[in-house]
């Protein structure tokens, strides 16, 4: 590490930020495990309080019970719930369909309204107005319209993903430095080349923030959408467990949701680090 730093600072033209950023990322990589200490301690405390009876099992199951429940749900097929992994698969499918469609549609809309005034006047007011409608309030209407199958659930997830993605992508396109547009003109870029080389890459940081927000808000939409009139999936497990007062199963499902969210966020960080490598030295 020492020689690396010396070599870097020895380069005469390297701006100082490069060295500082290099140090920062190195530290966060090698000492990442430090961040695990407090969650682990917290779970230990929770287990202690459960074991000593301070937390009654009727309110909150102990971590060991939850782990055991999860294990049982994975290895055995319960007549009521099926297996945990099959429920997870159902939920993950809804999420994947809704999220990918929502993001795709949002990007298309944002490109149209971001690149032309006409598109902006045509699309933006409609999207903004729809955004103001409380998403979860639409669910009863969707059930009336589309029944209780997969469609209303996919749609609610789609809408959950659509709005944050649209807003961030649109803002990203509009925030591209006009001086770079001028540069494109001087270099004789065609309109398509300008979009491809200047506008879209310039909007990417903001669009990726949009993806992260979409992931979270569509997960929220999924949780709620699944708990109404579902007969499979994690949300169905939660609703059923609630009827039987099995809060250990509810906890398992919530933890699985949380893991889904964390995994998605982690995956996006990896994508972001690669796609935005050009600005890594700003000290991410």
């Amino acid at each position: 590490m020492f020689t690396e730093v010396l070599a870097r600072s020895g380069a005469p033209d390297a701006p100082p930020g490069v060295i500082a950023a290099g140090l920062g990322s190195r530290r966060s990589r090698s000492r990442g495990w430090l961040r695990l200490i407090s969650p682990v301690l917290l779970v230990g405390l929770w287990q202690l309080l459960s074991a000593t009876g301070v937390l009654p099992p009727s309110r909150l199951s102990s971590p060991v019970t939850i782990a055991h429940t999860a294990y049982t749900l994975v290895v055995t097929t319960s007549p009521t719930y099926g297996t945990l992994q099959s429920s997870l698969l159902v939920s993950a499918e809804r999420w994947a369909i809704g999220l990918s469609l929502g993001i795709t549609i949002a990007v298309l809309l944002a490109v149209i309204s971001g690149l032309s005034r006409v598109g902006e006047y045509a699309l933006d007011p409609v999207v903004q107005a729809l955004r103001a409608v409380p998403l979860l309030g639409l669910l009863p209407l969707f059930i009336v319209w589309f029944g209780i199958g997969e469609l209303p659930k996919d749609l609610i997830v789609l809408l959950g993903a659509l709005f944050p993605m649209y807003i961030n992508t649109f803002a990203g396109i509009r925030s591209v430095d006009p001086k770079l547009g001028e540069l494109g003109q001087v270099l004789g870029l065609s309109r398509w080349e300008l979009v491809r080389h200047i506008v879209l890459p310039g909007a990417l940081p903001s669009a990726l923030t949009g993806v992260r927000l979409s992931v979270i808000s569509s997960l929220l939409a999924l949780v709620v959408g699944e708990q109404i009139n579902a007969n499979a999936g994690l949300g169905f497990m939660i609703t059923t467990a609630q009827e039987f007062l099995q809060n250990n199963i509810i906890m398992v499902c919530l933890i699985v949701y949380a893991i889904l969210g964390l995994l998605a966020d982690w995956g996006l960080r990896v994508v972001e680090r690669r796609a935005l490598a050009w600005r890594r030295d700003f000290g991410q």
């Binding site: 033209d13 001028e182 540069l183 003109q185 080349e193 050009w278």
Partner: protein, 264 residues
């Protein structure tokens, strides 16, 4: 070779307007020829019936106080301004290096130079241009990791790679430290001697103009207020009597009399 004119219509308030682009085959020995160029911003007339001719291969420096319309004229020649009146003929291709290097941050150095290049051997040509500005070791660097001087050299390479007949330099060295600026001056002279584009260098630095140009223009009241040819051989000693004399005259033209200069 065929001569082709492509008039670019402008939404000009009066008179005939347009930027005529002449391809390299044009018979004229002018890289740029401007007649009666007028540009208004609201009520303010920034360029007022300006006439200017730049010979092919000539190195012209233009100085003027800030707000005198230097950049406006340069943007007009670059084809970035559509609100002009008057007439203008420019020999294509035209290339521009801006005051800030304007590198595309998400393209590596090589990608910045090849951007918009129609050459089938674009990578080779771009690598060659980067060699000329002595940056072959930074081909795959991201712009954010470059120093100011390096970034400006990439910007120069990006302009050069188009083999311009007219190279427009909009104060490209003003943000650099004195030493880097001196080495950039040498580099520009070397590149100019090798490739012989006509150059219009816009600057607020009288010494820069004196060190580089064949001809110095002072822009004032929207017109070329003063013009002087410099015959001194390059590389120039800034204490050459002719240059000292011209420096005083130029500073006078800029409203900065000699005694103010001498106290520095």
């Amino acid at each position: 070779m065929a001569t082709r004119f492509r008039p670019v219509s402008g939404r000009a308030p009066a008179a005939a307007a347009g930027r005529i682009i002449a391809t390299d085959g044009q018979a004229s020995q002018f890289a740029a020829s401007v007649q009666g160029l007028t540009r208004r911003f609201g009520d303010r007339v920034v360029l007022d019936q300006l006439d200017l001719e730049i010979r092919a291969g000539e190195f012209v420096a233009m100085i003027g106080r800030s707000g005198s319309g230097k950049s406006t004229l340069l943007r007009a020649l670059a084809g970035l301004d559509q609100e002009l009146s008057g007439s203008m003929t420019v020999a294509e291709p035209v290339a521009v290096a801006f005051q800030e290097p304007r590198l595309v941050p998400w393209k590596r150095v090589l990608g910045n130079v090849t951007l918009g290049l129609r050459d089938p051997n674009q990578v080779q040509v771009a690598t060659g241009a980067l060699e000329e500005v002595e940056l072959t070791d930074r081909l795959s660097a991201w712009p954010v990791t470059l120093s100011g001087g390096e970034a400006q050299r990439v910007s120069l390479a990006r302009a050069l790679v188009r083999s311009p007949s007219l190279l427009l330099l909009d104060e490209p060295f003003s943000a650099l430290d004195a030493l880097t600026r001196m080495s950039m001056h040498r580099l520009v002279l070397r590149l100019w001697a090798r490739r012989r584009p006509a150059v219009l260098l816009v600057t607020h630095d009288v010494d820069e103009a004196l060190a580089l140009a064949d001809r110095v223009l002072v822009l004032g009241s929207g017109q070329i207020a003063y013009s002087a040819a410099i015959a001194v051989e390059r590389p120039r000693d800034r204490n050459h009597p002719e240059l000292i004399d011209l420096r005083h005259r130029l500073l006078n033209e800029l409203g900065m009399p000699a005694e103010a200069d001498e106290t520095i």
